[in-house]
Every structure is written in C-alpha cells, then in structure tokens.
C-alpha cells in the first residue's frame, strides 16, 4: 500500500457528502436496530433504493455504518425490554435483561456498547490485514479454484451454519434454482422466464431480498403490534463507568469473542447472530463462574457483544476478495457493489485500491462513531419507543414498494418482493433457514459459469477439477466436508452397536 493510495482513500472518505451520508445512515441504523422486529439486514435492504442514486463510496459508507450501528442498537431493547432488537442480540438478551433487573442497566448497556466497538475494530483490523493478502493469493485462481471455492462456501452455509441440515440444503437448492432463471447462462437460453421479458435478465435480487428480509419481518411484526413496550429501568446513568475495569478483567474473553466472531463472519452463510450464539456458549463453557450465567452476569455479554460486531467486518473478507458473501448483509452489499461497477474479486484490489482502502477507513470511522452515537441512542431510547410501531409498519411497506419498483421501474419487482416475502415467512415458520437460499441466489450464476467454463477447458474430463494444486486441495476439502460427518456418524453408530 503506498501513501498515495491511502491519501486518495482518505480524500474519498472525508468528502463532506460521504460524512453526511455516514451520519444519516448511522441514525437510520440505530433507529432500525433499536426498534424490536426490525433487523440489521432489513436496514441494509431498505437502504438499497437510496444507494441507486449515490456514487459508489457514499453507497458503501451508508451500508457499513448502518449495519454497525444496527447490530449494537439491537442490544438496547435487549437490556431494557427483554426483546432483542435484532437476531444478533438474541443470544444474550436474557442475560442483559437480568442485569438490568438487578438495577445495573448502565453496566449492561455500557458493556454492549464498549465491547461492540472493540469487537468491530478488531474485525476491521483483521479485514485490513487479511483481505489484501488473500486477494494477492486469489489472483492465481482459475475457474477450477473458483468453482470449488464457491461450492465450499455454499456447503459451509448448509453444513456449519444451520441446525437442520436437510432443510438448509433445500433452502440452498431453492436459491440455486432461482439463480438459474433468465438468459444469463453459458448456453444463453431463456430458462424459467414464463414469457416475461422482465425475467430475461434473471430474477432481480434486490426486490427478492427486500421481500425476504423486510416484508416477511413486517408480516411477523403485525402479530405483536399491540404488545406494550415498557422498559425495566427508566433513567440511565453513566454507561461508561466501570468499563476500563471490565476490559482489564476480561481480556481473554474479549479477544476470544472477537476472533471467533470474525471467523464465523468470514464463513459464508453464518453472520453476526450465529457468532453471538457461539461466543456466548463458548464464554459459558470456559468461564470460571459458569453458574453465574443467566443470572445477570456480564462476562457473556462482553464476549458475545464483541463477537457479533466483529462478525460484520469478517463477512466482508470473502465478499471483497472472492465475491462470496459472508452473511446475508454482505449478500445485499455485493449486489450494490456490482451495481456501482466495483465488482468484487481480487482485481478490485489492483484496479480500485483507493476504494478498497476507503472501505477499510469507513469501517474504522463507523466503529469509532458508534461510541458517541450509541451513547446518544441509549439516552434517547425512550423517545424511540414513543414512535408507534403501528404507524411505522405501513411506512416501511410503502418504502419497500418503492425500493422494489425503482430497480427496473417495473411492477414485476413488487410482485417478486411479495412472493418471496411470503415464501420467506413460510420458510422461517417451518424451520427452513433463509440465509442459504440468499447465498444460492447470489452465487448460483457464478457457480454454473465456473463449472461450465472449467468443463469446456477440460473437454469434459472431471479429473481436471483436481489437477491444479489449490483446486485439488479445495476439492478434497469439499468432499471431506460432506463425507466426514457421515463417516463419523456411521463410526459412532458402529461403536454403539458393538458396545
């Protein structure tokens, strides 16, 4: 990295337009995160229509900032209402609320805020260190390596990130099927278009994601729209008191949460919510006082709070380097990157280095801004609660309509949004995870393209997929990922049978 590139990146980020966008999206993110039922992914999906009309850097800035803010803000209703503001807070909602009930709301909120910032900055540091190195490595990749890498990514989403693997796999297959709609395939044959010209270019991802993440969420929220929201603690004192002591007391927990969060974020399909669950579990497992967990103990909040924010930056590593989203937020971001001609991949680091470093700077900026703005959100939370959800939901729906319409100026987008919104609701009701479907939709076209290109290069020989060293390794890894659990299960079955 030369000083010149860094200077250009600073110039891109410190543009007044970008700063205004950052502050506005920070407020938007805090609001969406703090309102129970509205998620960070929904914040990203709702931002998309606004980004159509922005230059690339402000567009990315808005998403980076809004998500960082929303993941933290989700902790506020966790602490005060026992309702997670976003799924990423769900892991430690009971713990945080129990702490508030003991009259330590300040500690609970302060801990969420401070360790969110620490986790976020850690994830950013890893992103800055790892992404360029990986990109240089990835320059040597051909279609064979990309095929395996995409397949490994998709398998991770199913086999690591979900509880019910069969339902996860079905979800992924549905996503892949949606990705094969349209002309964009190696044979350029219009598949599954039902005679609609709007589908020739493929199923447009943005309306689908707005449907799956916003419409389905609003449908769920209508059921609880009458539920009164009363906070467990009415006045909040100094949330920063005692934080330094916590940092000194739990350095290992902070580091472990941040490392695990970044790693889980970087794994395709698993995002901040799964990172928080895993970190909370790990914290309890390795704690010296596991009996205190669940009674309002701050240790788990430290570890899981750092974890979910670090996952956000972690998810950008595969997204920027390989174009493989690490979570559902980056799945949407990748769509926006393509729209802004910042096609993700290793060449992005060569051809557009200032933009890449601008993204890094934006992550640092967003995490630092989280301290003052997060503090303000905690202070103003009663005002946020006063905004009636019954009036908010219809506004969100109209905004969804506009977002789905504006991408192609066609009502087909809104119909797609509606269809996939209902589908996502049905899927989640019945235990089908939505993330693998999204990943399938984003990566399906690439997977097919790399596969067919490789097949043509190899003249139909399947063994060619294992001949190059990296491709071979990835291929074996992929097969191992599928075969190993089955073998282990058989082995266990055999041991039980033979006593």
């Amino acid at each position: 990295m030369t000083a010149d590139v860094l200077a250009q990146a600073f110039a891109l980020v410190l543009d007044p337009h970008v700063i205004v966008v950052v502050v506005m999206s920070a407020l938007f993110g805090l609001f969406v995160g703090a309102v129970p039922g509205l998620t960070a992914t929904m914040a990203t999906a709702l931002l998309v229509p606004a980004t159509f009309f922005m230059p690339p850097i402000p567009a990315i800035a808005s998403m980076v900032t809004a998500t960082a803010m929303a993941i933290f803000a989700g902790d506020i209703p966790s602490c005060l209402l026992r309702i997670p503001g976003t799924p990423a807070s769900a892991a430690y909602t009971d713990e945080a609320y129990a702490l508030t009930r003991k009259g330590q709301g300040e500690l609970s909120l302060g801990c969420s805020l401070v360790f969110s910032v620490i986790g976020g900055l850690f994830g950013t540091a890893v992103l800055i260190a790892a992404a360029p190195v990986l990109a240089e490595f990835a320059l040597r990749f051909s279609s064979f390596e990309y095929f395996w890498l995409t397949l490994v990514g998709l398998s991770c989403a199913v086999f690591i990130a979900t509880g019910d693997k069969l339902k996860g796999l079905i979800s992924l297959l549905i996503g892949l099927l949606v990705a094969s709609v349209g002309l964009d395939n190696p044979a350029a044959y219009p598949r599954f278009t039902f005679g609609l010209t709007e589908l020739m270019g493929g199923a447009e991802l943005i309306p689908i994601m707005v449907g799956m993440f916003a419409v389905s969420e609003v449908m769920r929220s209508t059921i609880t729209v009458d539920a009164p929201l009363e906070t467990a603690q009415t006045s909040i004192g100094n949330v920063f008191r005692g934080m330094w002591r916590l940092c000194k007391r739990y350095p290992v927990q902070t580091l472990r949460g941040s490392v695990l969060g970044t790693a889980v974020g970087a794994l395709p399909g698993a995002g901040a919510d799964i990172a928080a669950w895993m970190s909370y579990g790990m914290s309890k497992r390795f704690s010296r006082e596991p009996e205190k967990f669940g009674t309002g103990h701050v240790e788990g909040i430290v570890e899981a709070g750092a974890s979910n924010n670090s996952a956000l930056a972690g998810a950008w590593i595969p997204a920027m380097v390989f174009g493989i989203p690490g979570d559902s937020i980056t799945a949407i971001v990748i769509g926006v990157l393509y729209m802004k001609n910042l096609n993700p991949g290793p060449t992005l680091f060569l051809n557009n280095a200032p933009s890449v470093y601008a993204v890094f700077l934006l992550f640092i900026l967003a995490n630092l801004l989280l301290l003052p703005l997060g503090w303000a959100a905690i202070k103003g939370y009663k005002q946020i609660l006063r905004l009636p959800r019954r009036a908010l939901l219809p506004c969100i729906l109209v905004f969804c309509i506009l977002g789905a319409f504006a991408i192609n100026n066609s009502v087909v987008g809104i119909a797609m949004m509606l269809g996939f919104g209902v589908l996502a609701w049905l899927m989640e009701e019945n235990g089908f995870p939505v993330a693998p479907a999204i990943l399938g939709m984003v990566l399906g076209t690439l997977l097919e393209e790399h596969f067919v290109t490789s097949m043509i290069k190899a003249e139909g020989r399947v063994s060619a997929f294992f001949e190059r060293p990296i491709a071979g390794t990835l291929g074996v890894l992929m097969i191992g990922l599928i075969v190993l659990p089955a073998v282990l299960r058989l082995f266990r079955y055999w041991r039980v049978r033979t006593g």
Binding site: L177, N185, F192, T222, L393, I401, L402, E448, M455, G460
Partner: protein
C-alpha cells in the same frame, strides 16, 4: 403456521420433478454434450431427493402423532389474522391497481387500510396516508427521478 414436513417434502419433491421434466427441452451448448439443462437439472434432482427425504421424515413424525398443519394461538384472534393477511393483500392490491390508479392513490389507499387495521385513529391515519406518499413522491420522483406511475392523477396534473 407449522406445516408437516410430509406435506412440505412432497411439494418440494414435486417442484424438483416438474423442473427436471421441464429442463429436458433445454438445448446443449454447440459442440458440447451438456448445456442449459445441466445446472438446473442437478439442482432439481437435488430438490427431488431432499424433498423425498424430508417427506419420509415427516411421515415418521406424523405416525408419532404430529399434526398435518399446526396453527399458532394468534390465529384464533380474527383482528390479528386480518392484520397479518392485510400485508400480502395490500401489496397484491398495489401490484394490480397501481397501473390504473397510479402510485399516489394506490399507495395511499393501501396505507390507509394498513394504518386503520393496525389501530391508528382515523384522522392521523388519513393525514399519514396522504402525507407519506407525497413525501415519497418528492424523494423518489422529484429528487431521484424514479418514474412513479401517475395513473388517474395524470389528467389532473398534466391537463
């Protein structure tokens, strides 16, 4: 609403089978013995297989007394059901009617219905149903140049 895995699995398997049958008509890439049908074909075969597995699993749980369709408690409250159904119904109304009525009228009507159903009082609801689409018009039509359909208002605005 929890639908039994037996039913969902059967539906998914059916989707796989229909797709598998449909992709047979896709042409190959010239000079290769595979083409447009390969990828969706593999996916459809996967859906068929997974659907059958899920259905089999569902049949086993149903044999242990699981219901075919289990409804959540909120389904007993008609107002909640109405509120819930109003979301897809309102969006469907917009899809069908916005061409004729235009964005402002169609979105305003849908919004009014939602606001009243969710329990906002009449006057604020009417004010919001008029105000919010106008605000969105300013943001999307004026500022961002999205060609929102005028519909019935076209003759009034552009006489």
């Amino acid at each position: 609403m929890k639908i039994s895995d037996a039913i969902l699995g059967a539906l998914i398997a059916l989707l796989g089978a229909v797709t598998l049958w449909h992709v047979r008509s896709f042409p190959p890439i010239p000079g290769q013995n595979f083409g447009a049908a390969l990828f969706p074909g593999v996916v459809a075969a996967g859906l068929l297989l997974c659907g059958l597995l899920l259905a089999a699993r569902g049949v086993v749980t149903m044999a242990h007394g699981a219901r075919a369709v289990a409804l959540d408690p909120w389904v007993r409250n008609p107002l909640t059901v109405l509120r819930f159904a109003s979301v897809p119904a309102g969006l469907l109304f917009y899809v069908l009617a916005s061409g004729v009525l235009g964005f402002h009228v169609a979105a305003g009507l849908a919004m009014l219905a939602w606001l009243l159903l969710f329990g906002v009082r009449l006057l604020p609801a009417v004010a919001m149903a008029i105000g919010f689409p106008v605000l969105m018009h300013l943001a999307f039509y004026k500022l961002l140049r999205v060609p929102l359909p005028w519909g019935v208002l076209e003759r009034i605005v552009f006489p």
